[in-house]
């Protein structure tokens, strides 16, 4: 196992933990994107560029848009509910 392989394995382990302990959903979405990049490097270093490409398009383009828009909608509805009750 090369130094690079050990380094990306550590990065993925740390990144996965960081996603779990992120304090709120918005930051969690951003940390998830960084974790996705770490996974991309993992696949690339372990010689699977096809999966690395899939991972980078899903974790940096596909998923964050949906998560961030869903969060925006949830905040919006919470705001409307507060206005209704006041």
């Amino acid at each position: 196992m090369t130094v690079l392989q050990v380094a990306v394995l550590v990065a993925v382990a740390v990144g996965g933990g960081a996603v779990v302990v992120a304090p709120n959903a918005l930051r969690q979405a951003l940390v998830l994107g960084i974790y996705g990049l770490a996974l991309t490097m993992l696949f690339f270093v372990f010689q699977d560029p096809d999966v690395a490409l899939s991972e980078i398009v899903v974790s940096t383009i596909g998923l964050p848009v949906m998560v961030l828009l869903a969060l925006r909608k949830v905040h919006q509805q919470e705001g409307e509910r507060e206005e209704d009750s006041s």
């Binding site: 899939s54 949906m66 409307e80």
Partner: protein, 253 residues
């Protein structure tokens, strides 16, 4: 259940799990060693018999093309689910989206970001098309290239111009892309059944390995999958964006 009981339960389950994990790990083959017969066969016939230099694409779109048909319809069905769940309900209403007024500007959409996002659109399209059509030669293929292609209209939204993104990628066009891509991939399989007698068996000329038009049906399948994936992602994103930007609950007017 009290905290003590829960911890005790976790202790027992955790210890058991750790034991099984350690026993399993000790039986693993050495790092980097590979003894899979199937993989070695594919490695041998990928270029010589199928004329595709990227064996992953050769597997996805030719040798195990039938599996990809199932995966493709998983994506199709999940996008249908998104459309169904995020539809406009009876109690909701459309709110006009004012992009020119300051208060509705997407946070952070400065002039510089807007110019950069718009300038990126042609190159994103070029990269997406490249990845789709070179699937059988280099890493990539319909799925990866399709998501990159879908990101081109999305750049318009990042530039703070969602209504123009809808002009660039209207509902009808992206839905048709999704449907034609899904149907086209199934037709690639049927063409094998019609012309060679076996579902998803290649019936097209194989070409010279490494050339753009090589690998027989891989290229055609890759283009259809690219169309389906970019359509599917755009349909899903558009419904998320409609919910976040346009649709409000109808209680207050």
């Amino acid at each position: 259940m009290s905290r003590g009981v829960r911890l005790a339960l976790f202790g027992v389950a955790g210890a058991g799990f750790a034991a099984v994990l350690v026993i399993g790990m000790t039986g693993l083959p050495d790092f980097g060693s590979y003894h899979g017969v199937y993989g070695q066969i594919i490695d041998g016939i990928g270029v010589t018999v199928r004329h595709g230099t990227d064996l992953i694409t050769a597997l996805n779109f030719d040798i195990r093309g039938f599996d990809t048909l199932g995966e493709e319809f998983i994506l199709f069905a999940s996008v249908l689910g998104i459309v169904l769940i995020l539809r406009q309900l009876g109690g909701e209403r459309h709110q006009p989206h004012q992009e020119e007024s300051d208060e509705h500007h997407f946070a952070g959409a400065s002039e510089a970001l807007r110019a950069l996002a718009l300038a990126l659109i042609p190159s994103v399209i070029a990269v997406g098309v490249y990845i789709v059509v070179h699937g059988q030669i280099t890493p990539g293929g319909g799925f990866q290239g399709g998501v990159i292609l879908a990101a081109a209209p999305l750049a318009m939204f990042i530039a703070g111009r969602y209504m123009r993104m809808r002009v660039l990628a209207p509902h009808l066009v992206i839905e048709l892309g999704d449907v034609i891509g899904a149907a086209g991939y199934a037709l690639v399989g049927l063409s094998g059944l019609v012309f060679v007698g076996i579902f998803f068996k290649n019936s097209l000329p194989l070409g010279i390995p490494g050339h753009l038009l090589s690998g027989g049906q891989m290229d055609v399948a890759s283009v259809f999958v690219g169309l389906e994936v970019s359509g599917a992602f755009l349909v899903a994103w558009t419904h998320f964006l409609d919910q976040a930007l346009l649709i409000r609950s109808g209680k207050q007017s």
